[in-house]
């Protein structure tokens, strides 16, 4: 499969992407390094007991002082998804609609490549960005095993995949809206409220299937992977159909 457009887009976003990844990795390192000081402070668990408002604020669903609770509350249920969505939704809105608005998309669309292939390469670039952030964060969290953070590596890998798929799906949502409307503003303006609306929901929420169901303690279920990939596939088909009909500059 060809990847010239994906490589070009990654090259264009290299600086911003590396800054986000480096910042997130540094933050993750600080969090895992702080764990030994908090693991004995069981009074913290009272804060998140019985789904308290504090638990909701942190996005925590279990004990704050357990390894999985610490990582969920400080990284995987809030900060990492936030950074992930900044990267993927930003790219999703700009890679078709944004580039068409600034005129650079015509450098690609006049080449002998179908619109479907263009979208698929953009999806590829989106996936690479999400995986890069998730893997870099996972690498730093793994260092936490030196700081008394014990958890199954397979569960961490599953959670990392989950958060990457979460990012890809919302990035695809922005990409699809941008492909239909040709407007970066519409892509962002539609996706951001959807994220806010869907986040607290349970079974209809991509957050629940990716990071919101104690995946670090229990592992990422196959059902979750199935839901996240199915939503991504549906959004990709929508983006291809929209882009085929879009009038370009």
């Amino acid at each position: 499969m060809r990847a010239e457009i994906a490589v070009l887009d990654l090259q264009l976003r290299r600086r911003a992407l590396l800054s986000y990844v480096a910042g997130m990795a540094l933050y993750a390192l600080v969090i895992v390094a702080l764990y030994p000081q908090f693991k004995g402070a069981t009074s913290l668990d009272q804060l998140t007991k019985n789904g308290s408002p504090i638990a909701a604020l942190f996005g925590a669903t279990g004990s704050l002082t357990s390894p999985s609770g610490w990582l969920d509350a400080n990284i995987y249920e809030n900060f990492l998804p936030l950074i992930m969505l900044l990267i993927t939704v930003g790219y999703g809105a700009s890679c078709i609609a944004g580039q068409d608005e600034d005129g650079t998309l015509s450098l690609v669309t006049i080449l002998p490549m179908s619109r479907r292939a263009v979208v698929l390469q953009k999806v590829g670039a989106l996936t690479v960005q999400a995986l890069l952030l998730a893997i870099a964060t996972m690498g730093c969290v793994l260092i936490g095993r030196q700081f008394d953070l014990s958890f199954p590596i397979a569960h961490l890998a599953g959670l990392s995949l989950g958060v990457a798929l979460l990012g890809v799906d919302f990035g695809l949502c922005a990409l699809a809206v941008g492909s239909i409307t040709g407007s970066r503003g519409a892509a962002l303006g539609f996706t951001a409220p959807v994220i806010a609306w869907i986040r607290p929901a349970r079974y209809v929420s991509l957050f629940y299937w990716s990071v919101g169901n104690q995946q670090l303690a229990n592992g990422l279920s196959l059902a979750s992977v199935g839901v996240l990939i199915s939503v991504g596939a549906l959004l990709t088909l929508t983006a291809v159909a929209g882009f085929r009909r879009l009038d370009l500059h």
């Binding site: 006049i110 080449l111 002998p112 179908s114 009038d247």
Partner: protein
């Protein structure tokens, strides 16, 4: 005659806004086809329909007999396109742009590309944001012709180029045509088009107002005659002659635009004892400006 580009009743509207209406175009293989019109007349809209970037509201377009939307990949393989408002990635260098396009197009032999870089003195090493408009335009020209396309579609190609480079670009167009290519040249620069084009279409307010060969247009174009008289002269006798339009009457000086025989004009002028007469050959500019200015849209004329 092999038709490379054709459009029949091609129409594009944007909501309630006019784009182009009922455009009929036919471009033969080996032509340099000049597509003229003032800003906002519909030139770029037509080009986007021909290149499959935009979908027609109604009517049909064909390039190499193929549908620009359904067969976009095959058409794009054989077409080079320079957009009217070329946008390059500001942080990338010209070389990165060219390498990217060459890779996707599978351009292995870079001899022609290197030759163009030399001829147009293209700076490929600096980020494009640091380049002048003219130097960015040169990169656009490379991207449009580096793969030796069978059809080159150029939208305002010499915008920003200095006169020397404009001249070089005209040579390039003629060379491309001599090797079998066809050129679709959109411009609002009358001089540029009449120097290189074999056929011309004029579009105004989204409607095609004329399509003809440059030679036929030249035959229909008015000649200009300017008389100087010893006394203030009345232009009315000239205005009543068929095929004569009084362009300017400034007391002792009268300027006429003439279509047809010159004898009736000379007879009228002789009675006024002219001091001097200057005649200029057929002026396409005057003809084009007539089409540009004319508020009514004439029925399209096609000599072919």
């Amino acid at each position: 005659m092999t038709v490379v580009v054709s459009a029949e009743n091609l129409t594009k509207t944007f909501g309630t806004h006019r784009g182009i209406v009922g455009v009929d175009v036919s471009v033969a293989e080996g032509d340099i086809f000049g597509f003229l019109g003032p800003n906002g007349s519909g030139k770029s809209t037509t080009i986007r329909l021909l290149t499959g970037l935009s979908h027609p509201t109604s009517g049909t377009a064909k390039v190499f007999g193929l549908d620009p939307i359904a067969d976009a990949v095959e058409i794009h393989r054989r077409v080079g396109y320079l957009p009217g408002e070329l946008a390059l990635h500001p942080r990338l260098t010209g070389r990165q742009h060219v390498d990217f396009a060459a890779k996707v197009r599978g351009v292995q032999d870079r001899t022609f590309l290197d030759e163009l870089v030399d001829r147009f003195q293209v700076d490929l090493e600096r980020p494009t944001r640091t380049l002048s408009k003219g130097n960015r335009q040169k990169i656009g020209i490379l991207l449009a012709v580096m793969h030796r396309p069978e059809l080159v579609i150029l939208d305002e190609p010499t915008s920003g180029l200095d006169p020397l480079m404009q001249d070089e670009f005209e040579h390039l167009m003629r060379e491309l045509v001599s090797t079998g290519a066809t050129v679709f040249l959109s411009s609002h620069e009358l001089d540029e088009v009449q120097r290189v084009a074999t056929r011309v279409a004029i579009i105004k307010d989204g409607h095609l107002v004329v399509t003809d060969t440059v030679e036929a247009l030249r035959r229909r174009a008015p000649r200009t005659i300017e008389f100087s008289f010893p006394e203030t002269a009345d232009p009315k006798p000239f205005a009543s002659i068929e095929g004569v339009r009084v362009v300017a009457a400034d007391g002792k000086r009268i300027t006429l635009a003439l279509l047809g025989a010159v004898a009736p004009v000379l007879r009228v002028a002789a009675e006024l004892d002219p001091l001097d007469v200057v005649a200029r050959p057929a002026d396409l500019d005057e003809l084009f400006l007539t089409y540009y200015r004319d508020q009514s849209v004439e029925k399209p004329v096609d000599a072919r």
